[in-house]
């Protein structure tokens, strides 16, 4: 029997994926396969197109090889556009000839939409779709200074990044009032804009271009409807895509009102022998502009051509998770909350540039959608809740709160149903993974090899590892808890090794107990273990290279690479002379000045080389470091107390200063805050602090383990009417017991809630000494207090340590990338130009 002919029009991502599926199937034996591609190059990975600008070649991006096509007997015609379908005679026509088909697959993708603007067809007006487009952009960028992208969607931002990498000053012009209007809401879009502008891409929203004319300073000038304009050397249009349906149109197939070749669930068009897949296809009135749905269509069609009656395309999840210009962006399901009755939960941390929003069902049980900007950490967990309809916990907001603030840990893989899709591209479910583990795979590598899970983009790598670890553990296979690749130990085990073996340097530890050279996971961890155990200066030569930058330079690094300066102002009491010094120093170095909620004054915007000079001046005036960069005591807030206040019964300021001086420098699992009020009116808000003290007419009441911030907790009354000595001993012991027993990054409030026996147990340990460790705790605290040094004083006095604080060791110049502007009479970094 002679073979039938199957013709594929379009050699793009989806067309290629279809071939991969089809030639391995049984039906392939009955067909000669012929492929036409209009582009001169073999199908390549368009999703990673931008990598062409950072060194990848067509060969790196190619999805297959000419050899593969030859091996599979596929008759490949590149650089040959199909110009017509002759449905009556079942043949396709190209400039080189006509070819008969029995089954025809259209995988013609889409083309970029260029808005009808006067002047849009010049040589420097380009699009971003093919390798050829990118060659043209590269050529046009040569000798240019400025580049504009029209369209602030996913692709537009990617194109803007590409222009930036070509050395152009990049702008994005968007018609809508925000970036990524399809995926993001107003808050998310606003934050994304801020972040992207910080990276040096200028964003112009609500701008409609009316004409493109010759420019004065650049090649082109764009005129906007609001009478403003922008000069640029080249323009990339990224204003959306349109399905490439010209062939189908001219041959009379059903086409959607706004374009797209209409297909049914089997990906067949209105002609039973013609099929369409990928971005050119219109299913249920919808076009799918992502590659994964296209792949699903390809698999479906291959199945249908094999007579699989179950094969059906039933829509696709359009959730996306991306890094745009280095900024995480995620959008899941019904991100805009359009489902009737849907409720919203938002978390907005402007300071850290993190925005999260969950859309949940009216009854609060199901997650319908979500938006993430700034940190995609919760994406995988949220996606699993949404896709699998898993019932939400009673406090769903925990899913988007940071873990340090009481957020829930990621959804355990155990909670996922067997049908949960783990790898969406290769269509691998949790059940498939359990299957191959039961069949003998006992490590991650072999599970990957067997199922192909996570072998594509790798988007599911973390989730896959969790599922595999969890399933292996259930089957009794030991799973590594190693801190990182350099040490086969957990954090806790390293702590014991250091203590028991008297190890004092990282070098010795990795030499004796690890391998390699360390990394940014194990070095700071070991650094903090060494500091807790031996309490040496954090800039001691052996420790320098272990620290995170905030610890190394004893200041918090801000986004533009500058640092903040936070001197201690114990109890919030400050003399006029010291206040003047702060003002003078801030003025001399043009530092932004802010009085904080902790009753002290922060100075922002110091460069690396200014830090020691500034601290030298502050130290000479009697200031000390405020430890704002470390996990240790921040401030002890106080009210004015009996000295001035007519209600006051004790000197709250005096006690606050005593406490702040006593506990400054104590390293703890998390930052500590305290407050002292001079009477029961509680003006210092002591009950929201880790340690709160409120005066009574007989002495002091002590409250412990409160918290303010995002997850407030009222402090618990711990003891009443204490004398000064009793108060201090109680606080000493509570703090030391906390420092010794809490987990890393655990606040006192969470620690107490997790402490077995709770408040009563803590009272017994501290007030009754039922463990018999009272004296030991007292002595340990005394050692910490006796070995206190102002780290900044030590640093500025040591020329070797000061050498670290030079921006450029061979040049006095200031860092050139820091750009400033004025706001309300002070200097601040440039973040928004609107």
């Amino acid at each position: 029997m002679s073979k039938k002919n199957l013709i594929v029009v379009g050699n793009g991502m989806v067309g290629h994926h279809f071939l991969e599926q089809f030639v391995e199937s049984e039906a392939a034996a009955a067909f000669n396969v012929v492929v036409f591609g209009e582009e001169p190059l073999l199908a390549y990975d368009r999703v990673h197109l931008s990598e062409y600008f950072t060194g990848s070649t067509h060969a790196d991006l190619a999805m297959g090889t000419a050899q593969w096509y030859a091996d599979k007997n596929i008759d490949l015609h590149l650089d040959e556009q199909v110009s017509e379908i002759d449905r009556d005679n079942q043949q396709v026509i190209t400039p080189k000839g006509s070819y008969p088909y029995d089954e025809l697959v259209l995988a013609t993708g889409s083309f970029p939409f260029v808005p009808p603007i006067e002047g849009n067809n010049g040589p420097d007006c380009l699009v971003y779709r093919t390798l050829d487009d990118l060659d043209q952009i590269r050529a046009s960028a040569e000798g240019g200074k400025v580049g504009v992208v029209v369209g602030g969607g996913l692709l537009g931002l990617e194109a803007a990044n590409a222009l930036k990498s070509l050395g152009l000053e990049a702008h994005v012009v968007e018609f809508a009032p925000r970036l990524m209007p399809v995926q993001l809401d107003a808050d998310g879009g606003g934050l994304l804009r801020r972040k992207i502008e910080e990276l040096g891409v200028q964003v112009h929203t609500e701008k409609a271009t009316t004409a493109i004319v010759e420019g004065d300073e650049c090649r082109l000038r764009m005129n906007f409807s609001d009478d403003t304009h922008l000069e640029t050397d080249l323009i990339v249009f990224s204003a959306g895509i349109r399905p490439q349906d010209a062939l189908a149109r001219s041959s009379g197939l059903d086409i959607g009102e706004r374009g797209g070749i209409v297909i049914n669930n089997q990906c067949t068009t209105s002609d039973p022998h013609i099929h369409a897949i990928g971005e050119c296809a219109l299913w249920d009135g919808r076009i799918f502009g992502l590659v994964a749905p296209g792949y699903t269509m390809a698999r479906t069609l291959s199945g249908a051509l094999n007579g699989d009656s179950e094969a059906a395309f039933t829509g696709a999840d359009m959730s996306t998770k991306l890094k745009l210009l280095g900024v995480d962006v995620g959008s899941i399901g019904d991100a805009h909350g359009q489902t009737p009755g849907a409720r919203n939960i938002q978390f907005n941390d402007g300071a850290n540039g993190v925005y999260r929003r969950m859309v949940i069902s009216e009854d609060g049980k199901k997650l319908l959608g979500a938006i993430l900007v700034g940190d995609n950490g919760p994406y995988d967990t949220l996606l699993q809740y949404a896709l699998n309809g898993i019932e939400l916990p009673a406090n769903p907001e925990a899913l988007i709160l940071p873990e340090s603030e009481g957020g829930a840990p990621a959804l355990g893989p155990d909670a996922l149903p067997d049908t949960a899709s783990i790898c969406s591209c290769h269509n691998v479910t949790k059940g498939d993974i359990c299957g191959v583990i039961d069949a003998g795979c006992c490590d991650l590598g072999s599970v990957k090899g067997e199922t192909k899970a996570s072998t594509g983009c790798g988007g599911c790598a973390a989730l896959l590892k969790n599922v595999v670890d969890c399933e292996l553990e259930k089957r009794g296979v030991e799973v590594s808890k190693d801190i990182c690749e350099h040490f086969p130990y957990s954090r806790q085990e390293l702590f014991h090794l250091v203590k028991v073996n008297g190890i004092r340097t990282f070098h010795q530890l990795i030499h004796d107990h690890g391998k390699g050279h360390g990394c940014d996971i194990c070095k700071p961890a070991v650094g903090s273990i060494l500091a807790t155990v031996w309490n040496e200066h954090i800039l001691a030569t052996d420790h320098v290279a272990l620290q995170d930058t905030n610890d190394t330079f004893m200041a918090n690094m801000q986004k533009n690479g500058t640092y903040s300066i936070v001197p201690r102002v114990p109890g919030g009491e400050i003399t006029p002379d010291k206040l003047i010094v702060l003002g003078e120093v801030a003025k001399e170095y043009d530092l932004y000045t802010k009085i904080t909620g902790g009753q002290r004054i922060d100075l922002f915007g110091a460069t690396l080389s200014q830090l020691p000079e500034i601290w030298e001046k502050l130290i000479a005036a009697g200031f000390e470091t405020g430890h704002a960069y470390g996990k240790s005591l921040r401030t002890v807030k106080s009210c004015v107390g009996s000295t001035w206040c007519r209600y006051g019964v004790q000197d709250s300021v005096g006690m606050a200063i005593l406490l702040e001086d006593r506990y400054k420098g104590l390293r703890s699992p998390h930052k500590l805050k305290m407050a002292v009020s001079g009477c029961t009116r509680e003006c210092a808000e002591a009950q929201s602090k880790d340690i709160g003290v409120i005066a009574t007419d007989k002495g002091w009441n002590l409250y412990v383990c409160g918290n303010g911030g995002m997850r407030p907790r009222h402090a618990d009354l711990f003891a009443t009417d204490l004398s000064d000595e009793e108060l201090i001993r109680a606080i000493d012991r509570v703090l030391m017991f906390y420092v010794r027993t809490a987990d890393r990054l655990q606040r006192t409030s969470v620690w107490l809630e997790n402490l077995e026996g709770g408040l009563d147990y803590l009272k017994k340990v501290v007030l009754e000494d039922n463990l018999g460790i009272g004296e030991e705790l007292d002595a340990h605290m005394q050692t910490v207090i006796d070995t206190y040094q102002c780290e900044w004083k030590t640093a500025v006095e040591d020329p070797e340590k000061r050498k670290r604080f030079r921006e450029f060791v061979n040049d006095e110049r200031k860092d050139p990338v820091q750009q400033w502007t004025q706001e309300r009479g002070q200097r601040r970094p440039v973040i928004e130009t609107a």
Partner: protein, 122 residues
Amino acid sequence: MSNKTQWQSVCSVDDLIAESGIAVWTADGPVAIFYLPNRIPCLFAIGHTDPFSGSNVLARGITGDLKGQPVVASPLYKQHFNLETGVCLEDDAVQVPTYPVLLDGNNVVLEVPVKSQVKEIA
């Protein structure tokens, strides 16, 4: 741009900090130099500008190795950069420039491109 390069003396051995980085200004802009005494070779030079934030901070990152590759972690957003190739381990589409670096007696010298116009931002 021309392809010419020059060797530029940038600092002395005493300026280096073991297992860590320093920044120097060169004809090609800001460059981070890392001194890893337990490796051969022990000197590495890459661009100082963090491509993810645009800030000049890479010399202030933590160094180490991952799968045998020498790396530095950006102090701002923690991506790792291979000190030999400049490629970002989390996103291999991102790369910082690398420069040949040598010791000439007590001097650290770098090979940097000669640019017709040195980039200056006021």
